[in-house]
């Protein structure tokens, strides 16, 4: 037998770890892949386009009169509420789609490539911020059409949008985790919906907290979703950067710190 090895040359640059730079580059490439996929299957975007339009219309006209006396004065309350609810619900789709994606053969190749282990997940989650951006823009646009005029101006609306998109991205790590550990895509949908429904509705999104029973007020006030909604309201109405904003950011950071490593580890174990 011959003793020759491969025709390739010796360069001695093999390393058993990935640098931070490479991790970022890999994640961005995977995000590019996610964007291409969205471009190829625009029907995926139905939920993020229709939900903000329908929910905003529906809830504003149903609750407006009862809660704030008229639709016009209800808008500053409901728009941030709908916004947060819609965008967080959208982040659920990330987990479902990740599950579907992972069942395909291409993820085997990603695993066998010398890339950062987190990249396929981080990339997918990053690409999905496009979905949150669409949902955010449409909610504010719907509000504007219906007469919503944020008092603190457009700059704060932009700032609030970034805040909501960032928090949704953070929360999507939770659903990504479910996505990785669940057996099927529909079970991800099931588990996630069960967690999301109480979280988004048992908040200050639609009605003033004072109207609720005492024991419920306790939960609603502690609910991180309420803090995020309050932060958006403060930003858009008075331009206040208050404690709600900091609590929201801290909460988002904690979620990422806890769930990103958990998710990557589960992903690595999964075969």
């Amino acid at each position: 037998m011959n003793h020759t090895t491969t025709g390739t040359s010796v360069n001695g640059k093999l390393r058993n770890y990935t640098s931070l730079g490479q991790t970022i580059r890999n994640s961005l490439t995977m995000a590019y892949r996610g964007l291409l996929k969205i471009k190829r299957t625009p029907e995926q975007l139905f939920d993020v386009t229709l939900q903000p339009i329908i929910f905003t219309l529906m809830f504003t006209y149903i609750f407006g009169g009862a809660i704030s006396g008229d639709v016009q004065s209800y808008l500053p309350v409901i728009i941030p509420g709908i916004l947060v609810q819609t965008v967080i619900t959208t982040s659920l789709v990330t987990g479902v789609q990740l599950r579907e994606d992972m069942d395909k053969g291409v993820f085997d190749r990603f695993k066998s490539l010398p890339i950062a282990r987190i990249a396929p997940l981080a990339g997918a989650l990053l690409a999905d911020t496009v979905r949150y951006t669409i949902a955010t823009t449409l909610t504010f646009a719907m509000g504007y059409i219906m007469g919503y005029r944020p008092e603190a101006g457009l700059g704060t609306v932009a700032l609030a949008s970034v805040l909501v998109i960032f928090c949704a991205w953070a929360i999507s790590w939770i659903f990504a985790f479910f996505g990785v550990i669940a057996r099927t895509a529909s079970s991800v949908q099931g588990i996630s919906m069960l967690a999301l429904f109480p979280l988004t509705f048992l908040s200050n999104a639609f009605v003033p907290v004072e109207t609720m029973p005492k024991w419920l007020q306790w939960f609603v006030n502690a609910n991180p979703v309420s803090h995020l909604i309050s932060a958006v309201r403060e930003l858009t109405q008075s331009g206040t950067v208050g404690q709600h904003l900091f609590i929201s950011l801290a909460g988002a950071a904690v979620i990422v710190i806890v769930f990103a490593p958990l998710t990557v580890r589960a992903y690595m174990r999964k075969t």
Binding site: T5, T29, L36, T271
Partner: protein, 342 residues
């Protein structure tokens, strides 16, 4: 053309793959039950076995996709468990099912994989064009993969494994489900790979594929290597050549069998379904004596052949398996010398 040349550090290693006692259990099923493999660098190594023998599981462990429960494996001297990220820089994996992105086009697939492997934007595009050209996919470059045939998908899959010109390439059943023409194209491609210096470890359930391509073969069954050697060594273990004989009148079977055993001095067997008598032959020349003896006894023949043992027979002899579980393709047994009588 070599953009990323990667290989082992320091001295050239003799073994591309060295696995000892690999074990993987799924529930109660020991899918891989102590597999040892040694693959010389620069060769094509075939892992042959029926469905469920543990071929894919073995490859997945060697390719860092699956952690072995016990045992160890080195790729060019790097441990698959401890130095996984280094191993990944040395290998290309083409899975049993095309591991490419269905929703993207062929070019987009290759560009993304190239970018992930560290090529720049321009480089990645050039590499994609180059590989598509090489694999005859240029025309389909922009089309979504959904419209690709099985063969095109496999070719793209292989192309994706070659972006970084890895010194070791794993091919898991590279031609399963392909038509004969696409299959021989794939074989040519694999042969070309080895000429450029790569080592190829392929699994197959087609005996003729191992026969055509592999320098050495490991026969694997129930998660264990049951035989290992060059294709010719394996064939020789069964006998130098074998006789296949059909007679016109089944009533003469017993007499014919007796004559064959007398002339050849070996034990003959009769397969029930076709009334075929088979017997190993040490010397193909004794066929003349046999034919004369049969004519002398007045036994007319309908079909007669002397052939080298096929891997098919090797496989059956070694594993003692029923033919049903082993797939043979039409082109199996290329070494057949056939004499038709009647």
């Amino acid at each position: 053309m070599v953009i990323h040349s990667k290989t082992t550090k320091g001295m050239a290693k003799e073994w591309a793959v060295e696995a000892k006692g690999l074990v993987k259990t799924f529930g109660n099923n020991r899918a891989v039950d102590g597999v040892d493999l040694q693959v010389k660098a620069g060769s094509i190594y075939g892992v042959l076995g029926p469905n469920g023998a543990g071929k894919t599981t073995t490859i997945r462990m060697l390719a860092t996709l699956l952690r072995p429960d016990s045992g160890s494996a080195q790729i060019f001297g790097h441990d698959v468990a401890k130095e996984a990220q280094i191993v990944r820089q040395l290998i290309g994996v083409t899975g049993q099912y095309a591991s490419v992105d269905e929703s993207l086009s062929a070019t987009e697939n290759l560009v993304i994989f190239s970018r992930l492997l560290g090529l720049g934007r321009g480089e990645a595009k050039r590499k994609a064009v180059e590989l598509l050209e090489e694999f005859g996919l240029s025309e389909a470059a922009k089309r979504p993969l959904k419209e690709f045939s099985g063969g095109m998908r496999r070719r793209l899959d292989l192309a994706a494994s070659l972006i970084s010109q890895p010194p070791l390439i794993f091919l898991d059943e590279p031609t399963t489900g392909l038509d004969p023409r696409t299959r021989s194209q794939m074989w040519d491609t694999i042969r070309r790979l080895v000429k450029t210096g790569s080592t190829v470890l392929l699994t197959t359930q087609y005996l003729d594929e191992a026969d055509q391509l592999a320098d050495r073969v490991a026969v694997i069954d129930h998660g264990r290597v049951v035989a290992e050697g060059t294709v010719n060594e394996l064939k020789a273990s069964v006998g130098t050549s074998s006789l296949h004989l059909n007679i016109e009148d089944p009533g003469n079977l017993a007499q014919a069998k007796r004559i064959i055993e007398e002339v050849l001095g070996t034990k003959a067997g009769i397969t029930a379904e076709a009334g075929t008598i088979t017997a190993p032959m040490a010397n193909a020349d004794s066929v003349t004596d046999l034919l004369l003896a049969l004519r002398g006894a007045g036994i007319p023949l309908s079909e007669f052949s002397v052939q080298k043992p096929t891997l098919d027979e090797v496989f059956l002899t070694i594993t003692g398996q029923d033919k049903v579980s082993v797939k043979t393709s039409e082109e199996a047994g290329a070494t057949k010398k056939e004499v038709a009588i009647g």
